[in-house]
């Protein structure tokens, strides 16, 4: 990322601030839970048995609680789309933050993996300690049945142990299938394994109900480390750290609440009764039930809404293997920039694919359309089905998702100028929208706004022979440039012509272009122009 300037702050500031907030929350939660189990008197005997493994496993569990609940929220797309499009979220900063929902989901996912490793390692040590430090004194605290019981048997025969192992395997499958290489080259594997998350959550709900770790309930009657009159004083019990400083008889400050019972038995700490232990209420249920219900409701809503099929009204073949599909559906509303997800059971029962809308329904015309490039087996089969049955009305079931950018109604948006830069490999590709661009240009020319749209078309691969798009597209031919765009020069020119303004950059393209544009948007220029960077993503 380029060094800090107003560009960097505008583009990255709120994102990094939110990340910092989330990170602090995790650190605080980890630290708080660690200290609770390290110093808490109700865990005194348990800590004695298990050692540091107890504190680390519980602290990592609390971080896992937080992240397992947060990881579902960015996937509630309809809710996010509603927030993004509603008038209540008017700030562009907030909308751009909502665009980063997929990144946040990945961040939480990675955190879950990392802390799961920590949690599992600490619990394996706990299992070992349960076996080795089996206590005859406090039988209720034990997880093992006898001293020296095989820890592997404990792992596989207790409810938390078995569900834990299964969760590790599910997480392993999901994690290895979510790497960048697999998502890029074998998306199906990623998609199908990621749906195992539901199994993971069910196992998690059962995992925390095991109640193996217990806390002491009768701290007043039996302060930990107290003296039992019938047994000899055990020298090797470490006194809880809170006692090590002498308490003055009349202290000016009041004692903290948890020390009250100990102060009463200050000099003669005699146990009134045996310690009683109880399992915790599964806190995780409270953490994840909300987001899980929300997500399930969202899936149900998506399913119900997509039940009515759309009718294909026309199929148009464009050069370079592109198909244009026009459809109609009852009560369908969409805004420029949104995308839809197509599901055609006759092509594939399980697969569905997102496509940006290239034509939105309006008040006068209900037809909407998408352009599909035929790449891959689903689009090939879809095309074959469409062209074979081109005379009939085929039914497909579209799901509708809202695109992250730009979603505003452009009549109320203060758009002053649009720079449209389109890079293609083959000259025929420009024909996909050549008619539309020419008509738009002519209309604006007639309305005396010729500079409203600046069209620049780039042909990145050429065999040296001068080409034109077509005789009737003179407007576009004169705006056709050979070679890839020089982005730095383009940015400088736009900055110079729009001084002190904010320019939105919207990129649909491969990652290499995206990185270059992002870097250029972050860097500062001498004209005071700010570039706000946005990227297409079907998240």
């Amino acid at each position: 990322m380029a060094p800090c300037g107003s560009g960097w702050l505008a583009n990255e500031g709120s994102k990094h601030l939110s990340l910092l907030f989330w990170l602090s929350l995790n650190v605080w939660l980890f630290w708080k839970t660690f200290l609770l189990y390290y110093h808490g008197p109700q865990y005194y005997y348990l800590h004695q048995m298990l050692g540091l493994g107890l504190c680390i496993s519980r602290a990592s569990a609390s971080v896992l609680n937080l992240n397992c609940s947060l990881v579902l929220l960015p996937m509630c797309r309809i809710l996010l789309a509603f927030l993004r499009g509603s008038q209540k979220v008017a700030s562009r900063k907030t909308r751009r933050l909502l665009d980063k929902s997929k990144t946040f989901h990945v961040t939480c996912g990675v955190t879950i993996c990392v802390f799961s490793v920590l949690h599992v390692a600490a619990h394996l040590v706990n299992v070992l300690n349960f076996s080795v430090n089996y206590t005859e004194e406090f039988l209720a605290l034990n997880a093992a049945n006898y001293r020296g019981e095989d820890p592997r048997k404990l792992l596989f025969t207790t409810v938390p142990g078995l569900t834990g192992v299964l969760m590790v395997l599910v997480l392993f499958l999901m994690c290895t299938a979510s790497t960048y290489a697999i998502r890029l080259l074998n998306y199906d594997i990623f998609w199908y394994t990621h749906n195992l998350f539901f199994v993971f959550y069910v196992l998690l709900l059962v995992h925390v109900s095991g109640g193996v770790l217990k806390y002491q309930t009768n701290l007043e009657e039996h302060p930990p480390g107290c003296f039992h009159p019938n047994t000899t004083l055990r020298e090797d019990i470490p006194v809880p750290g809170t006692f090590e400083e002498p308490f003055p008889e009349y202290a000016p400050e009041p004692f903290p609440a948890e020390l009250e019972p100990f102060v009463q038995n200050n000099f003669v700490r005699i146990c009134a009764e045996e310690p009683k232990f109880q399992s915790h209420f599964p806190e995780t249920w409270l953490w994840i039930s909300g987001p899980l219900c929300l997500y399930c409701a969202e899936r149900l809503y998506r399913y119900i809404r997509s039940y009515k099929p759309a009718t294909i009204t026309s199929v148009i073949s464009h050069p370079s293997n592109v198909l244009e599909l026009r459809m109609r559906k009852e009560n369908f509303k969409a805004r420029p920039g949104q995308y839809i997800i197509l599901h055609c059971p006759r092509v594939s029962a399980l697969e569905s694919h997102p496509f940006t809308l290239t034509m939105c329904p309006t008040d006068t015309k209900a037809t909407f359309g998408v352009h599909l490039k035929i790449v891959g087996d689903w689009t090939e089969r879809f095309r074959d089905l469409l062209l074979l049955h081109s005379s009939q009305d085929t039914e497909i079931l579209p799901n509708f998702q809202q695109r992250n950018y730009p979603t505003d109604n452009w009549q109320c948006y203060k758009l002053r100028r649009l720079y449209f830069i389109w890079v293609c490999r083959e000259i025929q590709s420009f024909r996909w929208f050549a008619d539309l661009l020419c008509m738009l240009h002519n209309k604006l020319w007639q309305e005396n706004r010729p500079d409203y749209i600046n069209i620049q078309l780039y042909l990145s691969q050429t065999d040296g022979i001068q080409k034109i798009i077509g005789e009737k597209y003179q407007v576009l031919n004169s705006r056709l440039l050979i070679g890839r765009p020089r982005w730095k020069l383009l940015f400088d020119e736009i900055a110079k012509c729009n001084r002190q303004k904010t320019v939105g950059v919207f990129c649909c393209g491969p990652n290499e272009i995206s990185k270059v544009l992002h870097k250029l948007s972050n860097s500062s220029n001498s004209y005071g122009t700010r570039f706000e960077y946005n990227k297409e993503s079907f998240s």
Binding site: V120, A121, L124, V127, L128, P151, L155, V165, L169, F172, L173, T176, T179, Y180, A181, I182, L184, L185, N186, D188, I189, S314, I316, H318, P319, R326, L350, M359, C360, T364, G376, W410, Q411, K414, R416, R431, D435, L436, M439, K443, L444, E447, R449, Y452, S460, Q461, T462, D463, G464, K467, I468, I469, G470, E471, Y473, I482, G483, R484, P485, R486
Partner: protein, 190 residues
């Protein structure tokens, strides 16, 4: 689902399992747990698996992303010919390597993960997939025009006299849009 290449996923799993084995084994050896010999074995097996699985195989169709610096290990793995090419061999090898690590608590999860990787390799082998090394591409020519032109013309245009120069057949807009294109926008920038 017809075009899924399972071997790529099995490769990721095997690499991850190797790392899990190394981690679990290191912990047990460092803490001198009972049965640490199994842990030492797990470390060795894990390192071997990581080295074997690091070079990614070539996909049947399309380009494959290489792992950073994998070309050195590709050269080594390629030497073993059919033994490393065949996925049945890998499936059996991983299943066999996984078993001894199952006796120790800290490496038992590595066993389970390697077992799954072995099963997916078996699936890949049944579907006829094979490991093929990713070969290096030949060096590209130095870029002309700052990298904006992919194929610069190499010959000057021949210029015959005007009488013999025939007009190039113009690329007609042979595509007639069956449905007329209209613009559906409201007022512009008001």
């Amino acid at each position: 689902m017809g075009r899924i290449e399972w071997a790529m996923w099995a490769n990721e799993q095997a690499l991850a399992s190797g790392l899990i084995l190394v981690t679990g084994g290191t912990v047990a050896v460092a803490a001198q747990f009972k049965g640490w010999q199994f842990a030492a074995y797990a470390i060795v097996a894990g390192v071997f698996i990581c080295l074997l699985e690091y070079p990614r195989g070539k996909r049947k169709k399309g380009s494959t992303m290489e792992r950073c610096g994998q070309k050195y290990l590709t050269a080594v793995v390629k030497v073993f010919g059919p033994v490393t090419r065949n996925y049945y061999v890998r499936a059996i090898l991983h299943a066999a390597l996984a078993v001894p690590a199952g006796f120790l608590l800290s490496t038992i999860l590595g066993t389970a993960c390697l077992g799954i990787a072995s099963a997916i390799y078996l699936l890949a082998a049944i579907r006829g997939e094979e490991w093929n090394p990713i070969e290096q591409k030949p060096q590209e020519r130095p870029q002309v025009g700052g990298g904006t032109i992919k194929q610069p013309p190499t010959m000057p245009p021949p210029r015959p006299p005007p009488e013999t120069r025939k007009k190039q057949p113009a690329e007609e807009a042979s595509q007639e849009n069956p449905i007329p294109v209209t613009i559906e926008v409201g007022g512009v920038g008001r």
